[in-house]
């Protein structure tokens, strides 16, 4: 992610990341790391865009089935999950703010809150999945729900499980990344000169939020 292999600084002072010789300053190096992260996030956006395009095509072909099937989703749980994820994004943004001010304790608090909300998101998602599996609202040939028997309805649940599953995978990866940055914050590594790990980890988390902001209306509302 970045070259933050912190060199052992003088005792007491926060360690500085190693500066590669082709960068004029740490700021420029951080800028390059951020650009690299944006390039990675662009590929992530396009990965999810593939699923959005599949959704658009099948919704275009089976509008009635998609409208009926989307009403089978639990809107209350979906809304709570959206609010949880947005709030977790807020705490991740606050962590960057505190990292710039070298308040490592607050960084830890903010990221722990973020990770707890991520767990809450996954627990709610688990209950939603369990209900879907119990009802037989499953992808493709495994669809056995007798309530809706329209052409294309199994496709809706294929897309539902694919996109929310890929998103949930990103939530788990994000939790691991944030836990790793939290460990670094526990060692008081971050300051105004060195907060790239916090910023990039939090950017990844915002991407997870960004994707959900589009998945939520797509799957639950329309």
């Amino acid at each position: 992610m970045q070259s933050s292999s912190a060199v052992a600084g003088t005792a007491g002072a926060p360690p500085l990341p190693k500066l590669a010789h082709h960068f004029a300053s740490l700021e420029v190096q951080n800028h390059a790391a951020r650009l690299g992260m944006w390039l990675f996030l662009a590929t992530e956006i396009l990965l999810f865009a593939g699923l959005f395009v599949i959704y658009a095509c099948y919704r275009f072909m089976f509008p009635e089935a998609f409208a009926e099937a989307s009403r089978q989703l639990d809107l209350t749980m979906g809304t709570i999950n959206t609010l949880v994820l947005i709030t977790s994004s807020f705490t991740a943004a606050m962590a960057v703010h505190y990292a710039k001010e070298a308040k490592n304790k607050q960084v830890v608090v903010m990221f722990v809150l973020t990770i707890l909300m991520a767990m809450g998101f996954l627990v709610i998602k688990y209950f939603e999945y369990a209900h879907k599996i119990h009802e037989g609202q499953l992808p493709g040939p495994h669809y056995t729900y007798p309530g809706i028997q329209l052409p294309g309805v199994a496709m809706y649940f294929t897309i539902y499980f694919l996109s929310t599953g890929l998103h949930a995978f990103h939530v788990i990866v994000g939790m691991i990344v944030l836990a790793w940055v939290t460990l670094k914050a526990m060692r008081n590594e971050f300051s105004y000169r060195n907060y790239t790990a916090v910023e990039l980890g939090s950017m990844y988390w915002h991407l997870v939020d960004l994707v959900w902001i589009f998945l939520f209306p797509m799957l639950y509302l329309i």
């Binding site: 004029a24 956006i45 395009v53 658009a56 275009f60 089976f62 709030t87 807020f90 052409p151 915002h206």
Partner: protein, 141 residues
């Protein structure tokens, strides 16, 4: 040495950047919460014509707020913005051209084609006359 000079210039420019504080984050968080409630309320009305468009507009506003302020695109100049805008452009292209294809296809060539409802407006006695799947020559396909 031009690379190094570029690098020094960027260094100078970046010192002038402003950083958003917690106040701004709280405002953005509040706006995102409100917009979520708005999209749920309007979504539950199942507006027939522009419900989809409204939901997508609200989602785009929320996404822009996250990208601009939480992900700091608003305060970071240059290349990151180009990367983000380019990825959005290609998402739009992929979506639009796939839908153009699907929307303009000859209907039997679509995956949801149901031969029971085809041909649609063939006069009685003409079923199968123009190759079964075709309409009479005087009607537009």
């Amino acid at each position: 040495m031009s690379v190094a000079n570029e690098s020094f210039r960027e260094d100078r420019e970046m010192r002038d950047e402003h950083h958003s504080g917690p106040g701004k984050y709280v405002i953005i968080w509040g706006a995102l919460m409100v917009l979520t409630v708005v999209t749920v309320v309007t979504g539950r009305m199942h507006l027939p014509d522009w419900g989809l468009a409204l939901a997508l507009v609200i989602a785009s506003i929320k996404g822009s707020l996250v990208a601009l302020y939480f992900m700091h695109l608003a305060e970071h100049q240059g290349a990151s913005r180009i990367v983000f805008v380019t990825s959005m452009l290609f998402v739009a292209l992929m979506l639009a051209f796939t839908l153009f294809d699907l929307g303009t296809r000859f209907r039997p060539a679509r995956p949801n084609f149901n031969s029971a409802n085809w041909p649609v407006e063939t006069a009685a006695g003409q079923g199968g006359r123009y190759g079964g799947g075709l309409q009479p020559p005087d009607t537009h396909p």
